[in-house]
């Protein structure tokens, strides 16, 4: 019987994600590389107390709409709806404005484990590759070393960093086939190939599903064995009201615009760094 990892809907793709699950979410933050429709489906399903693993905490749909992204949701949909119990994250807050994650953090509504970006990538890869841990030199002499085992190897100091394995990895790719083979597009790779295979179940949201054999075997980035489900984005972007059922999202554009203006003003007053 032919292998077929294609599922028909986003809701079906995330149907077995339960409260308290550990989910990895691909993408970067400042680039369109996030599994937007899978995140919406997770939100719709109503699961809570999630542990999330992601590079950033999201900007919110409005920022992406302004940029012209047809599928605008990002991690913020789980943040602003308070679905996250603990976030393992590299870039949780913004230097420019107070994002929704920072508000939850200040309110004591979310736990955080902040991880240097490269260490985050390496810990995720370690889980995929079946390693017990890796010694990383980054973070020595900073808060990152707290409570971590240190070791001097060949005269240099390293921190023991443990694998991060998830129940589900939600990723975004450009094209996929029924075996789960994936290719990406440009700078949208980011954490997506890294996370593929680092979870018990990897679910890929793709721009397009293609016939088996249509992807050049020399150019496949993620071998299908890492991927469990493939689900395609609709060809045409949904209307905003029809698809995004979260009414907060519909109001957040104005809020965001006010906020970013205000926070830029405050940042300038404080002589905030450029970074």
């Amino acid at each position: 019987m032919p292998i077929n990892k294609i599922v028909d809907s986003f809701d079906e793709a995330v149907a077995d994600i339960e409260d308290g699950a550990v989910i990895m979410v691909g993408g970067f933050g400042t680039v369109v590389s996030t599994p937007s429709l899978l995140l919406e489906a997770v939100y719709r399903k109503g699961v809570k107390n999630l542990t999330t693993v992601s590079n950033s905490s999201g900007f919110g749909a409005d920022v992406w709409k302004l940029q012209g992204a047809p599928f605008p949701e990002d991690m913020d949909i789980l943040v602003r709806n308070e679905r996250i119990k603990k976030a393992i994250v590299s870039a949780p807050v913004s230097a420019l404005y107070v994002n929704n994650f920072e508000k939850l953090l200040r309110a004591g509504k979310v736990e955080i484990e902040m991880v240097p970006q490269g260490t985050l990538a390496e810990r995720i890869r370690a889980a995929k590759a079946g390693l017990g841990g890796v010694y990383v030199p980054v973070g020595i002499g900073t808060v990152v070393e707290e409570e971590k085992e240190k070791k001097i190897i060949d005269g240099r100091e390293y921190l023991l960093e443990l694998p991060i394995k998830a129940d589900f990895a939600l990723i975004h790719a450009h094209k996929g086939d029924r075996w789960g083979n994936l290719v990406y597009r440009g700078t949208s790779r980011t954490f997506n190939p890294t996370m593929s295979g680092a979870a018990r179940v990897t679910i890929a949201e793709v721009d397009e599903i293609v016939e088996l054999g249509a992807l050049d075997p020399e150019c496949i980035v993620t071998p299908g064995v890492y991927v469990d489900r493939v689900v395609a984005r609709p060809k045409v972007a949904p209307t905003q009201e029809g698809e995004i059922t979260d009414h907060q999202a519909l109001e957040s554009k104005k809020r965001f615009e006010n906020e970013i203006q205000e926070s830029i003003r405050r940042a300038k007053e404080r002589g905030m760094r450029d970074e």
């Binding site: 400042t30 240097p116 900073t142 700078t187 980011t190 007053e269 002589g271």
Partner: protein
Amino acid sequence: MSDNLQAKEKLDRQTVALRVAKEFQDGNVVNLGIGIPMLASNFIPAGREVIFHAENGVLGFGEVTPSGEGDLDLVNAGGQTVKPQPGMCFFSHDESFAIVRGGYLDISVMGAYQVSEKGDLANYMVPEREVGTIGGAMDLAFGAKKLIIAMNHTTKDGEPRIVRKCSYLLTAPECVDLIVTDIAVIEVTDRGLVLKEVAPGWTPEDVQSLTEPTLTVDPDCHDIELV
């Protein structure tokens, strides 16, 4: 800050970026942080081949596109759309940071809140805000062969950002090689901070008065060269 110094003109962001770009040699692999550092990509002299790296998984991209013209799947780490360029390639996040941590970046340029006289860097968390974002800064500060900091010399209130010991949480200890500010260029050396260049109209004494640790003035100290 004395009224005398307040009246002196500081370099604008573009000019700081221009001075930073002078550090990029032919063939250098360079990562630019958000803000002033990214502006430096506009100032590569014609004919010089510099390969830009961005954390999101790309090497060798071209200039920032005019607003509204770019492809959202071809952006630098700051989210600015950039032009494709021959030789460019894409890769995953783990490969991107293998390149950083493995020592394949010649230069990383980023902003800072504070730099200490030993080259300690603090650029991810301000105590009054209690939260911060590590992002790729720790990896880049650790991995790059040469770390250049581009920042204003003082806070808005005139407090030095170049300090004896950072009061803010460290991004990485003893990592900074060169500091380019709106009034000076300072090298971090084994014998402390060495003042190499000053902004036009500024004296070494002026710069020292806005800097906490003692600066060694290089015998060749001169006005910042922009050409």
